[in-house]
């Protein structure tokens, strides 16, 4: 009897709780889910976070605005520019500082390069979760092109700190345009190839079409954001609905899909990469002239500001309160994947097969960190078996063979 048959036999009638997490090297941040399964079908899901809770919001209250800018970039290495932008634009608005148009264009370009590397990273992770390892290796190879751009021109692969209070510290030079354009054109061809694969490959479609469906109305009500929302036909993109630095001068095209399933989440993200490439090429050839920074005061006038930024995973929300000193009084951060986790817990997971969980979880691009990760299959009090994430992944692949 195979491992799969044994499990099917033992979990055929009763409800079992399957704890997943908190830790595994394949994922980017640790979280703990408990899926209650009835046989093969998931009937309930709960969540426990906090394994990497570092108290950044508390730490922000004890530092000045410049220090906090660098601190919040470390909330997440993947979307560090989005965090920096969301925070510093609160401070700039509170201080009544308007950053120069050229700085806005640089912020927008850096934001789109960040989206490219984040979506390519996700494409690899999600493909790996479903056992499509060639796709995983191809997409990560292509991601290196983006990482090289970041390293060569912004000085670092992840925490590139393009923002400074009142503007940016990197410029888009002629050298940048000459070197980056051919790389982006190559990446565009690669993205078109991936789009073709996910739309035509039979196995890939079998694992993604009609899996993890969440309707448009429900997505809207649950407050889902980013590609997760747009793949359910909700046209929610902060670059368009609440245009901020750069996107107010250079509008971007929105990508949506009405199919509401896992396949739509792949299509939306890949099409967004193509849009990002076209956007970067367009903006860097129309760069406004002028300064890169405006003068910022050290003390920020008392007040409150709420800003939303479209991070690669969705809406990143910052609420900053100033008490008129050099340090913020309160910095509240609502990260992009937190609200999308809610959609998994509330509705997406329920009614699906345990074997689909790796890809459904990957589908929202959850921000997990580099730690170990286990799955415990409970078979009553005295008979439990511990699975690694790798075994759950294999179980999912074997189930569909």
């Amino acid at each position: 009897m195979t491992e799969l048959q044994e499990i099917n036999k033992s979990t055929s009638a009763k409800k079992y709780i399957v704890p997943i997490g908190p830790q595994h090297p394949a994922l980017k941040e640790p979280g703990h889910f408990q899926f209650t399964v009835e046989g093969e079908i998931v009937v309930d899901a709960t969540i426990r976070l906090g394994y990497v809770h570092r108290g950044i919001e508390k730490a922000a209250e004890q530092r000045n605005y410049t220090q906090v800018l660098y601190l919040v970039e470390r909330v997440c290495g993947i979307c560090s520019h989005s965090h920096g932008t969301a925070f510093i634009q609160c401070a700039e608005k509170l201080a009544g500082v308007e950053i120069p148009p050229r700085a806005k264009a640089v912020r927008a370009i850096a934001g789109e390069i960040e989206r490219l590397h984040s979506h390519l990273l996700w494409l690899g992770v999600a493909s790996h979760g479903g056992g499509f390892d060639s796709m995983f290796m191809y997409s990560w190879r292509d991601r290196e092109i983006v990482m090289e751009i970041l390293e060569n021109f912004f000085g670092n692969r992840v925490n590139y700190s393009v923002n400074i209070p009142g503007g940016v510290k990197e410029d888009i030079t002629t050298e940048f345009i000459d070197q980056v354009t051919p790389k982006l054109e190559y990446l565009k061809k690669r993205m078109e190839y991936y789009l073709d694969v996910i739309n035509t490959d039979i196995t890939f479609r079998q694992r993604t079409v009609n899996i993890g469906k969440i309707g448009k109305v429900e997505t809207d009500k649950l407050g889902a954001t980013g590609p997760t929302a747009r793949a359910s036909g909700v046209a929610r993109d902060m670059r368009i609905t609440r245009p901020y630095d750069g996107y107010d001068l250079f509008p971007v095209n929105i990508v949506t899909d009405d199919r509401c399933d896992l396949n739509a989440r792949f299509v939306v993200r890949i099409k967004e990469c193509i849009e990002s490439i076209l956007y970067i090429i367009d903006v860097m050839n129309r760069m406004p002239d002028g300064e890169l920074t405006a003068k910022m005061p050290r003390k920020i006038p008392a007040g409150e500001y709420m800003s939303s930024v479209e991070a690669p995973r969705g809406e990143l929300f910052y609420f900053v309160r100033s008490n008129g000193t050099e340090n913020p009084d309160r910095v509240k951060i609502r990260t992009a994947s937190l609200c999308n986790w809610g959609t998994v817990v509330s509705s997406v997971a329920k009614g699906h097969k345990l074997a689909d969980m790796p890809m459904i979880l990957s589908g929202i691009d959850p921000c997990f960190s580099c730690n170990d990760r286990m799955v415990q299959i409970s078979r009553g009090k005295n008979d439990s078996e511990v699975w690694t994430w790798e075994q759950l992944r294999k179980y999912g692949i074997e189930y569909y063979q």
């Binding site: 009500k221 649950l222 407050g223 609905t241 409150e304 609502r334 609200c339 509330s346």
Partner: protein
């Protein structure tokens, strides 16, 4: 134009609950409705039933009133197109109890758990009271985001937010 409609609709919906509705000069795309804490659930339900926006998050902050008495400010942020509409109120330290909005918006559970753990707000009838962010062995009555909290080890207060232990 659409934005003005959203602002007017919010103002209209919140009129019966609000003690004060403000559009901050610094951020014209935002509208804040200050309500009585007892009206929280009906106010949220009204926004939800009228399809005004989606819940972005719930923010709490430790502050003082005009007399200098400590209180917790709570902000329920909703987003509709470009507009951020907030339902806000203050809870004095001796009455840190509110009702859960989860029966109306189930995904609020994560934000409510965060407010309970970090600020010690008692949210009645919230579906899940287990720890979300802070460790399981964290003391029951210590709320790390309050201004009074400096360090678990009071004999060695942390300097400039850095604890070198």
């Amino acid at each position: 134009m659409e934005n003005m409609e959203s602002i007017n609709k919010f103002r209209e919906l919140m009129a019966e609950f609000s003690q004060n509705i403000e559009i901050p000069a610094i951020q014209p795309s935002r509208i804040d409705a200050f309500i009585n804490p007892a009206d929280l659930v009906p106010a949220v339900k009204k926004l939800h039933d009228s399809d005004w926006g989606y819940l972005i998050t719930i923010s709490a902050y430790d502050t003082v009133d005009d007399q200098g008495t400590p209180q917790i400010g709570l902000v329920y942020h909703f987003g509709e197109r470009e507009i951020i509409g907030s339902i806000r109120f203050f809870l004095p330290y001796d009455q840190l109890t509110i009702e859960s909005i989860c029966p109306v918006i189930p995904s609020a559970t994560l934000y409510e758990r965060e407010c309970m753990e970090l600020y010690g707000i008692d949210i009645i009838d919230t579906p899940d009271r287990s720890r979300l962010l802070i460790p399981d062995d964290w003391p029951e009555d210590v709320f790390p985001m309050r201004k009074s909290f400096i360090s678990l080890d009071q004999s060695q207060p942390a300097e400039n937010g850095e604890n070198h232990d």
